[in-house]
Amino acid sequence: MRRGWSKRRAQLERAKERAIELVIAACGVSAVVFVFAIIYFVFREAAPLLFGGLDLAQFFGSEEWYPDSVANKRYGALALIAGTASVTILAMAIAVPFGLGTAIYVSEFSTGRVKEVLKIVIELLAAIPSVVWGFVGLVALNPLIIGAFGTPVGLNVLNGAFLLGLMSVPIMVSIGEDALKAVPDTYREAAEAMGATKWQVTWRVLLPAARNGLLAAVLLGVGRAIGETMAVLMATGHAVHIPTSPLDSVRTMTATIAAELGETARGSDHYRILFVLGTVLFLITFIVNLTADLAIRGIKKR
């Protein structure tokens, strides 16, 4: 009697276990399904135009973005691509030294309380919504840039890049710190035993050893910066223009999609060209993330 009961109980437990495993597997697989569903959807909306008469030479080679012109529609995305590129590159010029420096400090130089507080505060930086960043750019940075550089308008590449730089710092710090932590302590001890100073250990031993992880940290930061929409929409001035200096206003691909998609009638050329832009964006971030992933794999293999 007692034995039968416990056997049934064991069976029940096993069934429960299997059910939970199934649910968890479904969660895992769902991510894959979502990613592919999104790729399919974006591509499906873009495809009729992409394969049906879009002038790719114009799309990539001309800065004339007139999707709503009555007489002469032109879909030149060069200025938008240049806008995204310029903001991202300048953002990285700000974020890489800052983010990796912070990662090195948190991982190697700070201890105890300082380290804990720093980590929490940096995570807090990641929790600020991007529309709030945009607001900071609009209200705080705009007059500062006007005052400092004497430009007529402070909504420009520099403004957007500064915000994006700060926004990608947390991801760089957390992944960069993990990469440094992954370097075995024996490396540090061996270097210190040979009389190296702390900075020499970091510069000559840890950075080369953690190279791949740090590269991944930077690339994920780049991915974050390219895809960001709201902050750059508010802070870059939204002008279709190939920038010649960091003080020029630009318009990014993401901001264009966000600003224009709402007005387009479904299925129109304008609607489709925005999905083509989305496809290009997706390809860029996909390549960046893939490279980051391969770089991370590089550390693990060793």
Binding site: E63, D68, P152, V153, L155, V240, G262, E263, A265
Partner: protein
Amino acid sequence: MNHATRILLGLTLVACACGKRQDAAKTVQVKGSDTMVNIAQAWAETYNGLKPEIAIVVSGGGSGTGIAAIINNTTDIANASRELKEQEIADAKNSTGKDVIQHTVAYDALAVYVHASNPIAKITKDQLGCIYGEDGTCEKWSDVGIEVPGCSGQEIVRVSRQSNSGTYAFFREWTVGEKKDFKLGSRDMQGSKDVVDLVEQTPCAIGYSGLGYKTDSIKVACVASNETDACVEPTIEGAVSGKYPLSRALYMVTLGEPEGEIKAYLDWVRGDAGQALVEQAGYAPLPQEKRVAAAK
């Protein structure tokens, strides 16, 4: 069933009940023109005071956004600060099988804004075309014959609106004609108020927006259709009489003849009560003969 589950179940039931009650109240979706957001909100709030059971939900986004929503049948009423294009009317007919109806609800004067320190006395249509138009050559304020104090380099900073804006469409059509486009490189703002905010802070700037967004610390240019004409300051009276050249009608657009609550709301908006709010918001009300008599 343990205690926690029981509480949860109870809460769910309450939530369902509340949800039902809210569904019973009728919602009317109004979407579109950013120029009209202020007045549309004022109408909605006042109307809600009269008929609390009707919720009028107003959102902006631009005339194009509202019209796209009508075409896709995702809103009850679209606000538009321009007339619908033939293509849009055909699209709406194709996708919903109904004809769109454009109800004139007010008039608006589109003001040309410059910084308070800008000395410009009169600006003509041709000058605006020269500044904004695709083949316009006016890049500096000296090209229109003035010098703006505090503007480094005297470069004209063009402030414009995004292409989903009815204000943009109307202004472009007036200045350079329907077939031509604007020069690239203007700062394209999201909303009517953003234009005024930016021009207010920027000595080099010029922008356009509804007269209703005027503040005390910005200058409104006096506009003339021709070099030879006297210029006209934008006023509500000028917009109603058509004397001010940059005036236009504001529309509320429905699919088919409005019925039920939507009709009641539109009639109220176009009646004396609704029109009284128009003037307070800085727009021009409908003349008496175009109003809808109060249904009583």
